[in-house]
Structures are given as C-alpha cells and as structure tokens.
Symmetry: C2
Subunit: 194 residues, 2 copies
C-alpha cells in the first residue's frame, strides 16, 4: 500500500506536464501545444511509422521513451530546439529534474525510467535514434500544417530547419526524404521566413 501511494503521488505530479507549453502550434494553428498531448502524438507517430525505421527496433521501448521523454520539463521547462542559448544548460537542468521527478517513484521504477530517459537523450541505441527522428517529425508536420506558424513567429531560417532535422535520417532515411520534401514545400509556399 505504501508503494501504491508513492506511485499515485508521482502520477498526480505528472498531471503538470499538461501545463508545460511548447513553441509548436496545433495543426490548425489555434493554440500552442502542451507537452502531454505532444507525448501522446509522438507515441502514436512512433507506432504508425515503425516500418520505416532503418534498424530493427523494440517498438515497445520506443513508445515508453515517447511517453516519458518530456516528463523532466515539469521542472526544467520546454527548451525550444532552435534556441541555442537555452540549450546550453538544458542537459544539466533536465538531469536535475529527472533525479527529482523519477526519484519520487519506488527505487526499481525510478531506476528504469531514469535509464530510459538517459537512453533517449544519448541517442546511442537504435530505439533512441528512431525515437529522436519521430520527435522531430511530429514538430515538422505540425509546423507545415499550420503554414509555418512557429517557424515564422521565431524567424527560423530554412538552413536551420534543415540542419536541425536532417538527424531524422539517422533513424529513418525514408522519413527524412519525406520531411525534406515537406520543408521544401513549406519554403516554396512562404511558410518559412528566411
């Protein structure tokens, strides 16, 4: 019963992820996306696009990574991928957050989730590389759908968009081909400022 209470306290803390706001908009441009709904979207995309992964992957582990990858942002906040200044201390802030947040759980679960989070961050495994690719794809397709709302708002030039997203190829060359075309299309339609 003590163990269950600990798990429930963590679950309640997790609700806060619904209030961590990203720089990305929904496809219809109506509002900014939050981390919890993004995590769901990422997990769904990982499920649907698994056949395009360049290496064999344990899809269950990728889905779990998607579900937990942003939990640290409850403490550390969302870091915009095009914000080089904020990215400088991102790893340190997120590591501290991971220790506190996952540390709320029973020791075995804390250890498992911390390891999974670090695996995602280090992108050294096939699962982490595919997961990273999907995380990026989710952002790009919503940016394209919303006529580049977030790209334009933050004045992100095309070269930066390509440079940040070409890492998708490490997880899936097929998906990178698709996304590169989408960025090209966005550029031609005037969805990108630079």
């Amino acid at each position: 019963m003590e163990r269950l209470k600990t798990q429930m306290a963590f679950l309640l803390e997790l609700d806060k992820l619904k209030s961590v706001i990203r720089r990305n908009h929904l496809a219809d441009g109506s509002r900014l996306e939050n981390d919890a709904e993004h995590s769901w979207y990422f997990a769904m995309a990982a499920l649907l696009l698994a056949e395009h992964a360049v290496e064999p992957i344990d899809l269950g582990r990728v889905v779990r990574m998607a579900l937990i990858h942003d939990i640290v942002e409850i403490d550390a906040g969302d870091t915009f991928i095009y914000d080089e200044a904020a990215k400088k201390d991102q790893a340190e802030r997120e590591e501290r957050a991971a220790t506190r947040l996952f540390g709320m759980l029973p020791e075995d679960q804390a250890r498992d989730l911390l390891a999974l989070f670090r695996e995602f961050e280090e992108h050294k495994t096939a699962e982490a590389r595919y997961a990273r690719a999907i995380d990026r794809i989710a952002a790009v397709i919503l940016n394209h759908a919303s006529a580049g709302k977030s790209w334009r708002l933050h004045g992100v030039p095309k070269e930066r968009i390509v440079a940040i997203n070409e890492r998708i190829a490490e997880g899936s060359p097929a998906l990178w081909d698709y996304i590169r075309e989408l960025i090209e299309d966005a550029s031609q339609r005037g969805f990108i400022a630079g």
Copy 2:
C-alpha cells in the same frame, strides 16, 4: 511512398484529438482536459501501475490500447460516463467513427487498430479489463485532486460514482481498494454533491 503519404494523412487527422474536450478537469482545476493529453496520462498510469493488474497482461498491448482508445472521439465526440442518454447511441457512433478514421490507414494497420479498439470496448481480455480500470482511475484521481470539480459541476451522487467505478476491481482489486478510499475521502471533504 504512397503508403507513407497515407500514414501521414492519418497522423495529421489525429492532431484533432487535442481539440476534443472531456468533462474532466486537470488536477489543479484550471481547465478541462482534452482527449490527447488524457490518452498520454492513461498510458503513463498503465505503465506505472502494471504490477497491480489482477491477471498477467501484455503491457505493450495495454499501452497501445490507451493511445488509440479515444481516437474515435474525433468524429463521435466525448461521451460523459455519467450521461446515460448520450451513452445509448455511443457504441454506434463510435463504431462508425472507427471505420472512417482507421479506414484512412493502409489495410493491415487499419485492421490491427480496429481490432485493438474493439478489444478495448468489449473488455473480454485481461488487457482490456486492466485498461478499463486504468482509464477510470485516471478520471477519479483528477476529480479528487480538483476537489471534485467535475462531479460537483454535473451533480453526480456518490452512489453513481461508486457504481461506475467499481468495475475497476475487474482489472485490479488492489487499485479498486485505493480508489474506493479516495471516493470516501472525497465524500467526507464535501467534494461530492449528493
């Protein structure tokens, strides 16, 4: 490439789940929850509480159920579990929605997701029973945390809350014990109208 385009069109359609609003509030009572963030929360709770399932379960299948269980609500809308009138044609509305939405996918994926959705709805397997329990638990703990905001707003009496949620025991007697105490606590604190 045709297959990938089909998958991407479905993924874009999925973004609409972020705009389907539930009757439940966030834990802090600040706003209503949407289906996409609820689906993430459900999947996380399923992961964290798996050891309390009464039967052996394939946790990966439960997580996939959690992720897809509300997709039909893009067309069918959210049906409040305490709204008996709306529940009458719920199954019909959702089956029609499932056919259209999953039907956007390549045939093999459409078949798999439709089967998974129906398995969840029919709760005849251990996975579906555990998933149902977790779906209910997520709603109750947020209601309790928000001082019964949704229960009070809709005037749901304690007997109905117990009647609707006691099915949690089919997936996990341990979790039902916990939730029954939480409902009792909510009642004593005046979080329940009736």
